[in-house]
């Protein structure tokens, strides 16, 4: 490997190359170079260049469309190119609509406003404290304490009214700037002594805004005070530009503002990563384990190991948000595992990683395997490797992967991860927080499977327990979600909403079976659904599906056996099954043939199968313990 193999980051040369690529019709390569140009020179002039070139390749590269409306009380026009360039780097084609100065109230309240006619994907509401709360911002020293409190309350209530109106007229996400307290409060030191001082009251409005926003779907607060503080309050504000052009933000900080908005748009448009794949040497620790040994690598609470620990802490934060971590490293497996298991400075242990590829094979192949093992797309991976050569190779071979530009100094690693928008989430579910554990259990299962000579021995060892659950208010959302999301082991791929499932659940002819599966390694949760309908002593299986997590563990046989025996108990003479082929459900194709069904002549789509319930039955595998919750039918609220 040599420096000459890594392309030089020269903005002028990159511009020339980009124009050549575009005129040669190589849209994908030019898009990659545009992203590279933005990485090495993120500035106003560059943004204008990028925006004009996006115009030339639009339609020829795969981008996610996003329409952003900005409602504002100050000049944001110079930020538009920055927004478009930053969004482009995340694969988003941004269209921006600007509200007029200070017309945000009419725009939000009037159903026919240009805001709603634009049909935005997301809306930013950026109002300066001086405009949102003029009494508190300007004339605070004049206000009696009671009127100051009242003013704060009034501000929060007007926001509540705007949110409500917005939710009535738009499905878009709303991103709301919180209010920044003044840099220097009117009463100086005195202000800091009182809870209901100027700063205190403005912060109280922010707390109230957060509470109000949480009562609406898709209304989010942007912590403007924290953003400004992060970049330096005094540097952020430019009084001259404010007076001259109504632009309160300094030239240097416009990019930070634009990035903060895009930070919201990345999760909103689904351009997120699900798994961060990490290198080991000079990434999770300093030095090379194969040369320096476990006692020689840099990792601990003191310099120089502290920066690596800080980096690991930022990774732990990702893991707690439901992101998966994985390792892809060229090392001897045993050397690396010794550090992961035993080094006292490691914050991350093997249990924090959903997949491990510690070997000498090339990283492209390893990354493909990791995506396959975790059952996610390659485009859901992000890659962090201190070696620029590896990064360039992956960028070229797998352009859909998010390759993080790793800083020279390990002190900046943690910030590089925290600043990468693909790891942002706007909501967390309990399942998100359990995700790594589930994948780690899955790895233990796969490992155990290899140690058994026969599948049957492995199944006996697994100790699987399947529990048939009723459809009730707790399981209903998951049942509907499984019908909507399951593609592979799904016999009919019929998608149902929660409302439709609820209606079936109370109908006497329809029966819904929701299956929860556990084994000796852990709980898979609700992973199987069967829906049947009785008609003239025949029971037809309308839906039969299994999450890919439990395919190939004979769970499907246990569920089918249960459906069949229930149908027989109800007096049905025949069980009818259908297989409707889709692009993805080949794994389920032979399901009915394998369970003794006979194929019928059929003029409709797919194949039709029957089983005579009077002469045959489906035998549940002896290694699965089937538990049935007898309260299959529970009254659901309409």
């Amino acid at each position: 490997m040599g420096a000459q193999e890594i392309p030089e980051h020269n903005p002028a040369k990159l511009r020339t190359e980009i124009d050549r690529l575009i005129s040669d019709g190589l849209a994908d390569s030019s898009a990659r170079r545009l992203a590279e140009l933005w990485r090495c020179d993120p500035a106003t002039a560059t943004a204008s260049f990028i925006v004009s070139r996006i115009g030339q390749i639009r339609g020829k590269v795969a981008l996610t469309k996003c329409k952003l409306a900005i409602l504002r009380s100050f000049t944001v026009e110079p930020m538009v190119p920055l927004l478009c360039a930053e969004a482009f780097a995340y694969g988003i084609d941004l269209e921006v609509h600007l509200g007029d100065f200070n017309t945000y109230v009419q725009d939000l309240l009037d159903p026919d406003s240009s805001l709603y006619r634009f049909v935005p994907t997301a809306v930013v509401l950026a109002v300066r404290t001086e405009d949102a709360a003029p009494d508190l911002a300007r004339d605070f020293a004049d206000l009696a304490p009671a009127s100051a409190l009242e003013a704060a309350d009034r501000v929060a209530q007007s926001y509540a009214q705007w949110f409500a109106s917005f939710r009535q007229h738009s499905q878009a996400a709303l991103i709301v700037h919180s209010l920044a307290p003044p840099a220097v409060p009117s009463l100086g030191l005195l202000d800091g002594q009182s809870e209901s001082g100027q700063s205190g009251l403005i912060r109280q409005i922010n707390r109230e805004l957060r509470r109000i926003a949480s009562g609406f779907h898709g209304v989010y607060l942007l912590d403007y005070e924290a953003l400004v503080a992060r970049h330096g309050r005094l540097r952020w504000h430019d009084e001259r530009k404010w007076l001259m052009a109504r632009l309160p933000i300094a030239a240097d900080c416009l990019l930070h503002m634009a990035r903060e908005w895009i930070r919201f748009l990345v999760p909103l448009t689904g351009r997120t990563a699900k798994c961060l794949v990490l290198d080991l040497d000079n990434t999770l620790w300093g030095g090379v384990i194969g040369e320096d040994g476990i006692s020689g690598i840099k990792l601990g609470s003191e310099h120089p190991g502290a920066s690596y620990q800080a980096f690991q802490r930022s990774l732990l934060d990702l893991s707690r948000k439901g992101l998966l971590l994985a390792i892809c490293s060229k090392n001897n497996f045993d050397d690396a595992m010794e550090v992961l298991e035993k080094h006292p400075g490691m914050l991350l242990r093997p249990g924090h990683f959903a997949a491990l590829r510690i070997n000498w094979s090339d990283k492209e192949q390893n990354l493909r395997e990791i995506a396959q093992e975790l059952n996610i797309g390659v485009d859901s991976l992000a890659f962090f490797d201190d070696n620029p050569f590896e990064r360039e190779q992956i960028r070229a071979a797998l352009p859909e992967i998010t390759v993080i530009e790793v800083p020279q100094n390990s002190l900046d690693y943690a910030a590089a991860v925290r600043d990468c928008h693909v790891f942002e989430r706007l909501a967390l579910s309990p399942e998100d927080q359990q995700r790594t554990a589930m994948y780690v259990e899955q790895r233990q299962r796969a490992h155990a499977e290899q140690t058994f000579h026969s599948k049957e021995d492995f199944f006996r060892f697994l100790d699987q327990e399947a529990e048939v659950e009723p459809v009730n208010e707790f399981t209903l959302p998951r049942v509907a979600q499984l019908t909507q999301k399951t593609n592979q082991f799904n016999l009919t791929t019929r998608r149902y909403t929660e409302q439709q499932i609820a209606e079936m659940a109370v109908h006497p002819d329809w029966h819904i079976y929701a299956l929860r599966v556990k084994d000796r390694f852990g709980d898979h949760g609700l992973v199987g659904v069967a829906i049947s309908r009785d008609e003239d002593k025949q029971c037809e299986i309308d839906t039969f599906l299994l999450s890919c997590r439990v395919i190939g563990r004979t769970i499907e046989t246990a569920l089918l056996a249960h459906v069949a025996s229930r149908a027989a108990e109800r007096g049905c003479k025949r069980l009818i099954g259908r297989f409707l082929p889709s692009k993805k459900n080949a794994p389920a194709r032979d399901f009915y043939a394998q369970h003794g069904f006979s194929r019928q002549e059929n003029n409709g789509e797919g194949s039709l199968w029957t089983l005579d319930l009077e002469s045959s039955m489906v035998r549940a595998p002896e290694w699965i313990q089937l538990k049935v919750n007898r309260e299959e039918r529970i009254e659901l609220n309409p």
């Binding site: 500035a43 001259r240 001259m244 030239a251």
Partner: protein, 82 residues
Amino acid sequence: MNSTLEQVQAIACDIFGIPSARITADSSPETVETWDSIHHLNLVLAIEEKFQVQLSPEEIQEMKSVGAVAVLVESKLQSSAR
């Protein structure tokens, strides 16, 4: 290192969206169609960002051609170096 004029010209090309062949020291709002007030503000911001200077309202009004911008930047850089 490119001269200040060349750097200013490169910025002007990006901001006004015109090829470098069509930008000279004499280029001005009269000769460049896209040089309106919004693009003028963008040019000011790009110059401040690139050369790490702050321009006053009077200086911004003096920016009547690409050449004038380069002269202004030179004098700002010299006075801050002193």
